[in-house]
């Protein structure tokens, strides 16, 4: 990545290397002093049940388009540089990485805000669905009202 405002989106089954992704955000990027990353992992418990793993499904083509729209909105709202979003699909075990959002900016405020904004809208807009493998069997997760409310706070 040599271009200062490069955007990359990857939907993949394989794991990613957090350090490598940070290096890519920083490499040949001397304009941006701030790098903010978020990564989400599979927890061992949810809604009081022991979780053994996750299955993640998505809507190919639409997912990439929606994530690109979210990132574009963030770029218009904040002064940010590079953006990388990775989301994994398929079968994931406890502790495995699910999602990565990395944003660079000249100063920290823009990268902090844009990273949170991208994650909040990914949660409520991007067509991914999680099925948990729990001690009681397989359960498709239901969307949380709190996630929707959180995303709505950005329009205030």
């Amino acid at each position: 990545m040599n271009i200062s405002n490069l955007t990359e989106i990857s939907i993949q089954t394989e794991d990613f290397d957090h350090g490598f992704e940070v290096d890519l955000l920083e490499k040949n990027n001397v304009e941006d002093g701030a790098v903010v990353t978020f990564s989400g992992r599979v927890r061992n418990k949810n809604l009081g049940l022991k979780v053994k793993g996750l299955f993640l499904e998505h809507y190919p083509d639409m997912t990439e388009k929606l994530l690109a729209d979210i990132i574009e909105t963030a770029k218009q709202r904040w002064n940010i540089g590079r953006v990388k979003v990775i989301h994994r699909i398929g079968q994931l075990a406890i502790g495995e990485q699910i999602v990565f959002v990395g944003v660079t900016s000249k100063h920290r405020q823009d990268a902090f805000a844009a990273n949170e904004f991208i994650m909040d809208f990914l949660k409520v807009k991007a067509p991914f669905w999680k099925k948990e493998l729990t001690e009681l069997g397989e359960i498709w997760l239901e969307a949380k009202a709190s996630d929707k409310e959180k995303a709505q706070t950005w329009s205030k």
Partner: protein, 82 residues
């Protein structure tokens, strides 16, 4: 024909990832749903779920959205990624 696809819990409930509906039978998303219910009566309950979302050609739409031959209509539950 209109291509129809299903995701996640809905795909499992219907036991099928997708099908086709004749464009003669449906001019809106809501009519696509009706046509699917006629195809297979056991599908009616699952498709009647008000929380289901719909996208036409990868764009989120409401039930009154117009559809035509060649469109891809997707029905799915609220998303839960991240």
């Amino acid at each position: 024909m209109i291509k129809v696809i299903f995701f996640a819990a809905l795909r499992e409930q219907l036991g099928c990832g997708g099908t086709e509906v004749s464009a003669k039978c449906a001019s809106t998303v809501a009519e696509v749903k009706d046509a699917l219910g006629k195809k297979d009566e056991s599908w009616q309950n699952y498709l009647a779920n008000n929380s289901l979302l719909c996208a036409v050609n990868h764009q989120m739409v409401q039930g009154d959205f117009s559809v035509k031959a060649g469109d891809e209509v997707a029905f799915f539950p609220p998303v839960t990624g991240g």
